[in-house]
Amino acid sequence: MAESSGLDTALKVPQTPRELEREPLVSNGRSLAWISDKVSEIVEGKTPIWWWIATGISGSVASLTFFMLTYLVSTGVGVWGLNNPVAWGWAIVNFVFWIGIGHAGTLISAILFLLKQRWRTSINRAAEAMTIFAVICAGIFPAFHVGRIWFAWWLAPLPNANSIWPQFKSPLLWDVFAVSTYFTVSLLFWYTGLIPDLATLRDRATSKMRKFWYGLFSLGWTGSNRHWSNYEKAYLLLAGLSTPLVLSVHSIVSFDFAVSQVPGWHTTIFPPYFVAGAVFSGFGMVLTLLVPLRTVCKLEDIITKRHIELMCKVILGMGSIVGYAYGMEVFIAWYGGNPYERFAFINRASGPYWWAYWIMISCNVICPHLFWFRSIRRNMIAVFIISIFVNIGMWFERFVIVVISLHRDFLPSSWDYYSPTYVDILTFVGTFGLFLFLFLLFMRFLPMVAISEVKGVTPQADPHHPLGGAKKGGHH
């Protein structure tokens, strides 16, 4: 049939023009050995002074959270400025903010893995670590927001003396399950990825301490292909499970709002819109961390400008989806014809918190569009600054959602202007210290880049590539 149709079955493949050639994932043709040397160096070398300073500062800032929470527990949850219709306060704003940050890590490690986006390998380890630390920061807020933290275990389905059970119709309980599952699975996924790299560190170790600890945690990994076969399958499955997980976590966070009837909260697009926003903010944070780190740790050949550019593009895409959702919300608020809903949106844009709304719009909808320009995507300072704006914008998005809807609730007599107290502010600032502190510990003691995975995407790793030892033209 093919012959009779007169089509040329011998295909002439066009040459790729120079301007459309793809940049390599590891620059300067680095060797496999170079990759493990370079990444292990950060862990094995002498502790740099800047690390001590940075860890000292972030540790001290983190202690703010500790002190503020001590004060809160000893005094009462009212120190958070919650004696107001906006009873969710900064606590829930911060909770959603931090949880959202985590989503980029899972997206990079799981979704990009399923999509076979090989560029993820350079950044996934750091991003996954970021996920775990962000979820830790997030968990603090709702746990203390319950008021009497020593009863927080009532959230768990455990038998208790009152012989009552948690109420599963409440989205807040769904949150408990979603966030704890998210934390656990992210940790498992991260650790699974670490095993081969810990084995690398074990085999390089010179001191007894290192040999023992890396040996212990690498679980006797040998790099056996029979093991790799099961390992890869498990990794694929974890990626396959993490993908619906990451979608569900922020969807469930959005259910906290959207299953209610509060104007500005109840709208059906909330789940995907929250997920997009979370990924958006998460990539903002990944860039905030990695842009300086790639220079400081001299990882420019592994975390290349191409990686940074690709992340900028993700931010651009997610920012656009978020922009679409903002637009749909406003349009349907008008189209739906519900006067309360309409008021909620007019109040957002022109009420007492108009500034928060417009900060959100400028940072989330307008600012990412700067990434249309290649020159900006490749300018590390510009990327860093925009990534900060993205973080700010996404914090304000949660502020807008939580505060503006609540401060004008259905009962006008309880309308009030909400402001945070110093305890609110310092608790939140402290979590940034905690986040950075944990991250600094991570980068000093664990391989910051997934060594074996980066090796796997180099041309030397491909048995069909000349650099991987394949003989040109011939076979066998």
Binding site: S31, L32, A33, S36, P157, W165, Q167, F168, K169, S170, P171, L173, W174, F177, A178, T181, V185, L188, T192, P196, T200, R202, D203, R204, G215, L219, G220, W221, T222, G223, S224, N225, R226, H227, W228, S229, N230, Y231, E232, K233, A234, L237, L238, L241, S242, P244, L245, S248, I252, S452, K455, G456, Q460, A461, D462, P463, H464, G468, G469, A470
Partner: protein, 181 residues
């Protein structure tokens, strides 16, 4: 460890420089009919399972049954707690509905599925183990760096030191050594 009589030798180790070389060698070892042998690489080499003649991994089943167990646990737990033991009516909703029970059951599906996959992976790999003869070998340490190895165990019925050494040499390895138990 070694049940066979080959005294104090774990196996014969052959080192290779490139993934292509080790893959060609692996295909030869498989054709020669060895059973207790393995390829050791710094990263999973694409196509190696085929070259070694490995079957599709069974980890998927662990994941599937883990997930199934998670979903069932979630639904049963919520039915028992809110639909049976502690009935409480909220917002005019039914005492039990798969809709409101879905988010939690879904999360448990994923949680148990993830544990299933990992337990599956570790048990199929017989990991963790704190000791392995290969891990004492200095040459072998380069596997996690940038070298590729094939190890044929002495306990393989086809193993004979001279013949196997010849085979490995013929398959292109430049460095071959005996690994102690």
């Amino acid at each position: 460890m070694s049940e066979s009589g080959s005294n104090e030798a774990y196996g014969l180790l052959a080192q290779f420089d490139t993934p292509a070389a080790v893959m060609v060698a692996a295909a030869k070892i498989r054709e020669a009919g060895f059973r207790k042998w393995d390829v050791y690489t710094p990263f999973p080499v694409h196509g190696m399972d085929q070259a070694m003649g490995l079957k599709n991994s069974k980890v998927g089943w662990f994941c599937f049954f883990g997930g199934l167990l998670g979903y069932t646990t979630g639904m049963c737990m919520i039915y028992y707690m809110n639909g049976w033991d502690y009935r409480i009516e909220i917002g005019g909703k039914p005492l039990f509905s798969p809709f409101y029970a879905f988010p939690v059951s879904y999360e448990l599906t994923i949680l148990f599925g993830a544990f299933g996959s990992l337990i599956g992976m570790f048990s199929l790999n017989r990991l963790p183990r704190l000791h392995h003869p290969l891990l004492k070998n200095e040459t072998f340490k380069q596997v996690t760096h940038d070298k590729f190895c094939i190890v044929i165990e002495t306990s393989d019925p086809k193993y004979s030191e001279n013949e196997t050494r010849k085979l490995l040499k013929g398959s292109g390895s430049k460095h071959i050594e005996l690994v102690e138990e």
